[in-house]
Symmetry: D2
Subunit: 343 residues, 4 copies
């Protein structure tokens, strides 16, 4: 039930374009119970005319999916579309003065060559939108009307190492990051591919896109460097495992010079002291600790005398890795407490 | 985040005895975000001194589990204890005038012989408490200060057939109900049994307690008859499957005389027309439609000309089958909208 | 254990038509290590030109899938095709004098009206082939050159109640059988349907085709009656659960008159005393007890004084429910020990 | 395929000490169908008097678990005991001239300080036994009567990088290996720990023993160096995931100088050209490709111009990681084809 709020309070109207995928469904769930917005339209190309409750009975929502034809009646638009499809839609929404939160990768990269390479496209978008990671770009986000919401793997990796790159401890230099991440299969979207069927993926693990995943350039960009000309060695191996939700990232970090464990823990705690959704935990993190929440948990599992670190992060790919972070961004853009509707 | 409520609003104080099991953890989650109560103490015998967030990091709660020693400071007490352990504690809480919601089977049965038989006990409780199934006993619940919360299987079965027994269509008579239910393994509690380990239960199914499960007498009692002297043939086969949450019940019902499908659908829709958490659905229900919700879904899958019916119900064993229904009952006992904090 | 075989022994040549699905893959695995046959050709329409090891690396087989164009060089042909596709192929193979084992439902039913109804077809096959359930039709199978291999659900249900219908205890009469079966998702074949994706089916259960499943008529036929004019009430509710392999059937049987449990156990043990792949077990059976084996386990879980029985059966849908039983049939048709290559 | 064997052939007698755990059960399964051995006694301390078929009905074996009291009647003894328990038993079996294959870590390490450190023991064994990895130590194994069978993680990691260390391409030098491995939960044994229950581990992932796992020293030893004084940087992060069987290892290797991909593929193919159970595959490997087989699959997923490699290996922790490799070793020690009974 929507929490009791003073009736007189004006609510922002919000619509979702691409509402029938898994990220769209999570957005629907979050926005239906958000106390300060009113969910208006759910646009979804392949499901036009169906009810939300037909596809997602757990959401208990009788709205119909509609065809999007350029409407701009709502105050806020979330786009949860396959990569490439937001390119056409975002500019007119921005021009109409709407608040726009795009969950695709279409406007995440400043470097158009990297965009073309990693998204296999001949043409890159002309614009870049502020990268909506509140723990890193809070001050930019609160001033923007349109942002790019980060990728799921990218969120789990950037948050895991950001204190070394964006913290004030400029004396700590990273030489190498080797990252392996296991994602829940919902990250592949609502899919009918044989290789994602239950019979194929139950009790299975499969790595893919080794070294070429499209989240690599946004990770490097957020850490202040680039995939093309990196300031440190970075390898990334994504895997899907036998789970629906969650991303579990193992980050092997080699520093230029050794740093005491206590100093690193202090650096992390300090860096995230105002971040309500990042928890630096003393004990090993697990997928189970974060699914169905907007938390990203970080555990500093090992610090050796030679400057080798082992960090583990966990988040829910559909929440902190997508819809939850998107709502967190919306809250910031509306000057609300960023936790509103998320705890 | 607790929804914004007027500061001046007095909140009820609530404590949980037996807070560290799975039902206790779900109660904790629900009560932490309930807008009109304040969660005070979490009592848990085996976890005294540990934090909630040590056991259940997803709850993000820094409270400590404490030893219960007869405290009565809260307005409301939930008991989520193993069967038998509430027997001692409930009377003094009732005497102190507290609102008491007991999730165990200790006070569910009127017939003490059945209690002794199905719970394998030499002694039965002297008292019976109103059976907290809001869809059947709403008028009793709102007048009570202490109730018994129904069992998980019992909820999924009673709700599936109640319209035949408690509806106004007195002309429809049930001859036989054969029920098979598959439960998520969380129903067995937070357990260290080898036979409930992941390696044993992944991709497995196991029936157990065939015909002797302790929920049988409460089902019969709620349907207006008794396990000892039943007015219809009832068989019940519980199973655990390869899932954590949810109960899926297949109800084969044989009526004394055939009834048209339309009449049965009408009977069900009418019976549940004021029940916000029971959904009579036109299409097949699934576990996925109800987990992490307080809904019980019912689908009338087949009605034959000979009076044979096939009904399918689904609910989340930890929510509508335990903690969710308990909070729904609390809402009714506090004269609140029964949906408060549950949607 | 594979039986001892002398080098000089001539091996039968065998080919599979429809080799790339899950049943075809299990046939491939079994026939590759069968000591008395040599696997020749693997025909598979959608995978022509691919290697077995591309699709099923665990099989470690470098053969190529080929297009079937009427070849009859092998001694034995297994057909593991979607329903309807064997209709054209079987007659010419039979005419060529081949041993033919068809895993589809195309030739299972004597009653062509039932075939048309339950398989949704306008035309039924003109011929019926002996039903290849060795425990019931051993004497017919050993004399045949072409047989129909039973359906997976059908195997789990027929074996569970056959002693009442085909045993010598003619005094025991069955009034009602209510059956609910949970199948592994591999039963739906190698599929790209969204509703069978990992994200949809993990920790889920879904009933389907309630009362209309195409295995109903073959069950009734094998029990000596018919779906059209049944000698007892039969309801069947198939479900898919969160597992890849296995079928678990709960059989609620109501007898006309009560029978002692000891007599029933004796009846079952006696009926299956020469059946190496049916185990009547004293303790509860589980899916885990039978997957990757050709066993069908049966447990008589409850016998009441009123003649109500609860039987539980378990088998591997791809082995005793498909490829394993097919090889068992081949062994019988070749006058070999029926266990050859299966233990 | 089981090799052909004549009836007159004398079979070796074999017994298992510690037969009731998961590795013991897999040994039982393999040895029951091995054509050249006869399984005699199954010793299991906690299950004395129970039948194999009580614990593992799928094995269909009516033998009783017995108490071990120093018997030496069999030709061959497998020990599948918890670490520390083989220390007492192996010496007398060796002295009695038996063939001994120990699956524990008790006799794997030459360096007793490392044994004490990584196994948390005050005392290390006085003896070391040949490390039974056939692909590396074939010539030693065939001459031995007692060997140590490798650990499951160790097998998946050593086989993944051995060509760099034990191959003839002495010009390739490894600078760093960062390894993350996900294991099936059966690796933890037949367990009653709450943290390994289905409810805790379904759809979960958990890293543990980061940098301190007891397989680290045997990996380093097999690669010709030591954990204490390593010739390259090595980090190892083991995880358990939501699967019963299998180990999936991601190996980030940094070479001292870049090497062409073709040269590396050639090195691997050459190194394993006589290894029937190691497959160097062109396409991505998956857990599903190897479970229920004795294969270890290796895929060279990425080779960069800067000498950074990404290798992926997969094996079944209970087979190539334990019981399968043990039988492979037995075959070699008996001068049999190493594949006997394993394909």
């Amino acid at each position: 039930m929507t929490p009791p709020v003073s009736e007189s309070l004006k609510k922002y109207s919000v619509s979702i374009i691409g509402a029938s995928g898994y990220s769209g469904a999570e957005l629907t769930r979050l926005l239906l119970r958000h106390p300060l917005v009113e969910l208006k339209e759910l646009y979804a190309f392949s499901q036009v005319g169906n009810r939300v409750s037909d596809l997602y009975p757990a959401l208990d929502c009788e709205k119909l999916y509609r065809q999007y034809s350029g409407e701009t009646e709502s105050d806020i638009y979330f786009l949860a579309l396959p990569h490439g499809e937001a390119l056409q839609l975002v500019p007119s929404l921005v021009q109409a003065g709407k608040i726009v939160i795009d969950l695709s990768g279409d406007f995440r990269l400043k470097n158009s060559d990297e965009h073309k390479e990693f998204y296999n496209q001949v043409k890159a978008p002309e614009a870049f939108m502020t990268y909506g990671m509140p723990e890193l770009f809070h001050d930019e986000i609160i001033r923007e009307k349109a942002i790019s919401n980060p990728g799921c793997y990218a969120s789990s990796i950037i948050l895991g190492v950001a204190p070394f790159f964006r913290g004030t401890e400029s004396s700590i230099k990273v030489r190498t990051i080797n990252c392996t991440s296991t994602s829940g299969i919902s990250g592949a979207g609502r899919s009918s591919k044989t290789e994602l069927s239950f019979s194929e993926m139950s009790e299975n693990i499969r790595a893919y896109k080794v070294g070429v995943h499209q989240h690599i350039p946004e990770i490097m960009q957020a850490l202040g460097t680039s995939a093309t000309n990196p300031s440190f060695d970075f390898t990334f191996t994504p895997m899907i495992g036998s789970l629906v939700r969650g991303i579990y990232s193992i980050l092997n970090v080699q520093l230029e010079t050794p740093v005491e464990e206590a100093q690193i823990v202090e650096l992390y705690r300090n860096f995230y002291k105002n971040a309500p959704f990042v928890r630096v935990r003393d004990t090993m993190t697990e997928i189970k600790h974060v699914v169905y929440t907007n938390f990203c948990d970080i555990h500093i599992a090992r610090v050796t005398g030679s400057g080798s670190l082992l960090l583990v992060t966990a988040l829910d790919n559909l929440l902190k890795g997508a819809a939850g972070q998107a709502v967190q961004n919306m809250n910031l853009m509306l000057a609300l407490d960023e936790r509103t509707g998320l705890i």
